[in-house]
Symmetry: C2
Subunit: 265 residues, 2 copies
Amino acid sequence: MSWEALALVRRIRLIVEYDGTQYVGWQIQPNGVAVQQVLGEALFSITGRHCTLHGSGRTDSGVHALCQVVHFDIDVPMAADKFCYALNTRLPKDIRVLYSDEVDETFHSRFSVIRKSYRYTVQTGPHDRAFTRNTALHIHDSLDLAAMERAAAHVLGEHDFAPFMAAGGHVQSTVRSIYRSQWTRQGSLLHYDVTGNGFLYRMVRLLCGGMIDIGRGRLKEEDFIQSLQTGQRCHTAVTAPAKGLALARVEYADLDTKDILDRLR
Amino acid sequence: MSWEALALVRRIRLIVEYDGTQYVGWQIQPNGVAVQQVLGEALFSITGRHCTLHGSGRTDSGVHALCQVVHFDIDVPMAADKFCYALNTRLPKDIRVLYSDEVDETFHSRFSVIRKSYRYTVQTGPHDRAFTRNTALHIHDSLDLAAMERAAAHVLGEHDFAPFMAAGGHVQSTVRSIYRSQWTRQGSLLHYDVTGNGFLYRMVRLLCGGMIDIGRGRLKEEDFIQSLQTGQRCHTAVTAPAKGLALARVEYADLDTKDILDRLR
């Protein structure tokens, strides 16, 4: 396909949903297929352009996204709101573009983020379940939800989350502000919803690993809380597995993915 | 593995959940892998016994089950409530045994059924979605839900459902009683819940195909209602695709799968 040579360069923004089960995460990696790569190939196949796709943040291998926000610059004269339809004709069914629009060049999918939200899902009960096998962590043990809720309340506010960052994160500051941190039960599912101004590498999975171990009686609440209060690692807990985690909401000054998703019916 | 030669023959009942995407349905077929076959092989691998597995009914290729009820007769001295755990160690993750118990020889998973319920799920909106790609039918058109609800209300009661039976069904009577028939919206999903004393071959998918076409404005409500009232096919509509359908509940005199599933947390 060829476009007029002198089409203007515009910045296009997408909201992308993906089931991360089959992917090595958002970002291109040498060891498997990344969502960024599949999306870039679909964009090339409809426009003939190789574009750098910027996501609102990385998601790890196996982590899902209900609303990854992506931007790229492109010089083809396709209406901005048509990119989602065109891309979906070329993408696999586990990656969907739910929305597309044109934004100012001052917009950046990562740097313009005001707040992000993640959801971690645990499935409780004696048996792991067929329909949540890729989207929830099965915990056979009975969980003390009240203790998990108390721990979650301590996550709220501004903390140095250094004890909840995995090796591999490179950031200037490890201080982040958390505005929501809450467990809720829905049948045999437990959801942890967390909203913050930013998250360190594997921070949500490390917080969940700690809170789940508190729920199982394997970790003392005090040790977890002390890590939050001191910025020093005073607790031991494993990183919760990737498959329970989903990027759930991204908020910018001009766009809240929740508003767009709520309108999709 | 070998068991005492003189163990008593007992009848074991299972509640089985499956994501039907990868299977040709419940019943063994020449053209692919059936759930009945995979479950039988898992049972053989733990007991060394080839048993005939009786389901509460067939599910078509691609149809799901939240609670297929199965029984078989076996002479191994394993505690009845341990079959679910043992089978799950050998089954793929898209088939899970949620419950097992011992029943009297008068119990039959199919002939003892009092009521069954199915759920059909439609996903509305401009784009098909990643997380419901295998469990909901995507409809791009806007749907007239009020018209679909009116049609669903006419399904209630005793009718000759002959116009809603696909070729291939062999039954003495095509009269069935329907106790619940209702559409409800949940975000971008529309659920059709139907409960009856029995269902003809592809009856739910034929009812849904008709009601969805009414919602789209492609079928007149009167024609659909006339089919229900006369027992003659007075309407034209397609069979709704398998992937939106799930066997949702089976009720017996001594067991309601909903009670068991509600307790699994």
